[in-house]
Symmetry: C2
C-alpha cells in the first residue's frame, strides 16, 4: 500500500512561486518510484491575496491547512513601502499566525558552509551548526501596546513571555539534536540583562543537561555570540535560543555561510499535533520576482528538511547530496531558477 | 586661568586597571602643556569591591561620582562562574545603574576598520560608521518578573519600555551626528514583529527627518542589518537603534572591524545634567588579567571620545591620530599593555 502524504503548498509572493515550483520538481523526483505519494493542495496566501480579497489568513484557510500532513511555503510579503499594504502586516497575520496556531515551537535552521561557496569570512573553517530557535514565545507573542499614541507622551511596551513549558520542550529538542550530532550545545541569551527570562532559560538548560551527560553545554550572551559566529563559526554545533535572538543569529549565520540564498528552515511541531512547515529563510524579494533570477536552493533544501521530518531519511539525504553536488560544480555561469531546479532534480535517481 | 576637569576613574576588575593605567598615561600626555588640568578621583568598584565589602554601588558612590565632569571606566565583572558572585549581577547593579541613574541616553559606538588591522571579512572596504544606541529604555529597563519560579508552571516576562520622550532625544542626536558626517542614517528595529515599539521608533525617525532634509534615511530589520554588516559594512554611516539591538550590533561591528580590542564607547548625557562615561566595549577578561597581555587601545580611544565630548577637539584628534599611527605600524611583535600605552603616548606632542 502506498503511503499518501498530504502537502499544503503556499507559494506566496515575489520569488516565492518560482522557488516553490523548483522545490516541487525536486520533491516529485525524490519520491518517484517509491511507495510515497504526495497529494498537494495549493493555497493562495500573502500580499497578492490580501490585495485581491482583503484577507490575510481566514479561519477557513487555517483549518484547511492544518488538515494536511505538512506545509511547504515559498515566501510572503509585498513590495516594501506599497501604500496599500501599509496596515496589513502580512508577516504577523500570516507567517507568525501559522507558526503560533500550529504550535511550531521549534524553528530549525541549519547552517553549513558548502564546499564551493565563498564565505565572506576570510577563514570560516568547516561550518556546520544548527540553530534551534524557539518559535511560539518570547518577544514574538504580540503582547505589546501603547498609550497616548502620536503624542509627546506616548509609551510603547513590548512584553517577552517565556514559560517553563515552552522553554523546556524546545531545550529538550535541542539536546536530542546535539546528542545525535557532535554533542555540543550552546545556550544563547542575555541573562545579565533579561534576568527573569534568562534565568528560566539557564535553569532549564542546566536541568535538562542532567539527562544528557554526553552533551557538553556552554553559554554565550547574544552579543558575544555574534562575535564568535564571525571569528570561530566552526566551533558551534547546536545553538538553542529564544525567538528573537534566533531570528537575528540565523540571518547572521546565513550571511557568514555565504548567503541567505542557501538557508533552509523548518517550523516544527515535534508532537505531530499540527503539520510542520518548511520554508527558505529568505524573503519574497519583489525586486527580482518573475525574472527567473532567484536561487531555489534554499527552498530545495527545505524540501530535504521536510522529507527528513516525515521519516523519509533516504530521500532527504539524496536531495541534500544533489544540492551539494550542484553547488560544488557552480562556476559562476548564470542559470535561471528553473535551470538550477532542473539540474538538481536531474541528479536524483540519476 | 587653567580649566579644571574633574574625572571619576573606575578601573574595575580584570584587565580594567591595566588598560585604564595606559588610558591615563595618554590622557595626561594629550593635555600636557595646555590650559586644561584633569583632577582625578579613583573609585574602587566592581567584583573586587563586592567581594570585599558586599557593596556593588552605594548611594554615596553614585552621589560622589555624579559630582564629576566625566567618568572613565575600564571594565567590570569577576570570573565567570565564581560562586561568590552568583547573585551579584555586577552588570545590572553597577554598569547599568550608572547608565540609567546618570541618564546616559546616548550610547555612542564608532566602528572603523583601521588600515593595518585585518578584518575577518575578505572584503570589508572602508568601514567607518557610528552606532547611536539608546541607553536608558527598551528591554534594559529591568521591568521583568516571574511567577511560580522553579515549577513547571513558571512564567517569566520581560517588558521593553519605549517612550516618545526617550526615543526622540536619541534620534535627534543621531540626526545631528549624521548631518556632520556622510549624511546617511539607518534606523534598525524589528517593526514587523515589535509593532508598537517599532511604530514609535519609525514615526519618530520620520518626523525628525523633516528637520534634516539633507540626511538620507533608511530602515533595516535587525536580522537583515546583521547580514549587511557582514556583506556591505562600508555602506553604513550612522545607525540609530534601541538598547538591545545596539548591544548586539556593536559587538558584531567590533568583530567585523577586526576586534573588540579596538572598540571604544561613550555613554553620553548630551544635556550635561550628569557626567558622561567613557569605556572600552570589551569586558574584564579575568583570564588574562594582571599579565600585561591586554590591548589598551580601546580604552585609549575611549579617552579620545572623552576629550571630544569635553570640547577638547584638538587633543581628541591627536589621540586618535597617535592610535592610528601605532596601529599602522603593528607588525605582530608582541608588546605588553604598558608598551603599547607608552608608544602611543610618545607619539603625542612628539
Ligand atoms: C518575517 C519575519 C516575521 C520572520 C521572523 O522574524 O521570524 C523572518 O525574519 C524569519 O526569520 O522567518
Ligand atoms: C555588560 C552588559 C550589561 C553590557 C550591555 O549589555 O550593555 C555590555 O554588553 C555592553 O555592551 O556594554
Amino acid at each position: 500500500m502506498p503511503r499518501t502524504v498530504t502537502l499544503a503548498l503556499i507559494p506566496g509572493d515575489g520569488i516565492g512561486p518560482e522557488v516553490v515550483a523548483e522545490a516541487e520538481k525536486v520533491l516529485d523526483r525524490a519520491v518517484a518510484g517509491s511507495d510515497v505519494v504526495f497529494e498537494k493542495t495549493r493555497f493562495q496566501l500573502g500580499a497578492g491575496r490580501f490585495l485581491e480579497t482583503g484577507d490575510v489568513l481566514t479561519d477557513d484557510d487555517l483549518e484547511a491547512i492544518s488538515r494536511h500532513d505538512a506545509i511547504l511555503l515559498g515566501a510572503v510579503g509585498g513590495k516594501p513601502g506599497d501604500p496599500r499594504l501599509k496596515d496589513a502586516n502580512i508577516e504577523r497575520g500570516l507567517l507568525l499566525k501559522l507558526r503560533f496556531s500550529l504550535d511550531h515551537y521549534v524553528n530549525l535552521r541549519p547552517t553549513r558552509v558548502y564546499p564551493g561557496v565563498p564565505s565572506p569570512l576570510r577563514d570560516a573553517g568547516e561550518v556546520d551548526f544548527l540553530v534551534v530557535r524557539e518559535g511560539t514565545e518570547g518577544p514574538y507573542v504580540g503582547n505589546g501596546g501603547s498609550i497616548r499614541q502620536g503624542t509627546p507622551h506616548e509609551i510603547a511596551n513590548e512584553v517577552s513571555v517565556n514559560t517553563a513549558y515552552g522553554v523546556e520542550r524546545v531545550v529538550r529538542f535541542a539536546f536530542e539534536k546535539a546528542a545525535s550530532r557532535r554533542k555540543k550545545l550552546t545556550l544563547v541569551h542575555k541573562t545579565n540583562v533579561l534576568v527573569f527570562a534568562g534565568s528560566l532559560w539557564k535553569r532549564t538548560v542546566d536541568a535538562v543537561a542532567a539527562d544528557y551527560p554526553d552533551v557538553a553545554v556552554d553559554y554565550l550572551h547574544v552579543d558575544a555570540a555574534t562575535i564568535f559566529l564571525v571569528t570561530e563559526p566552526a566551533k558551534f554545533d547546536v545553538i538553542v535560543t529564544d525567538n528573537l535572538f534566533g531570528d537575528i543569529l540565523t540571518d547572521l549565520a546565513g550571511a557568514i555561510s555565504g548567503g541567505i540564498g542557501l538557508a533552509a528552515s523548518g517550523n516544527i511541531n515535534p508532537d505531530g499535533t499540527f503539520p510542520s512547515m518548511f520554508e527558505p529563510v529568505h524573503g519574497s524579494a519583489p525586486d527580482i520576482a518573475g525574472q527567473q533570477k532567484a536561487d531555489p536552493t534554499a527552498a530545495i533544501l527545505s524540501v530535504a528538511l521536510l522529507l527528513d521530518h516525515l521519516g523519509l531519511a533516504e530521500a532527504a539525504t539524496a536531495v541534500t547530496a544533489a544540492v551539494e553536488a550542484d553547488i560544488a560544480e557552480r562556476d559562476g555561469t548564470p542559470r535561471t531558477t528553473a535551470e538550477i531546479g532542473d539540474q538538481i532534480a536531474a541528479r536524483l535517481n540519476g
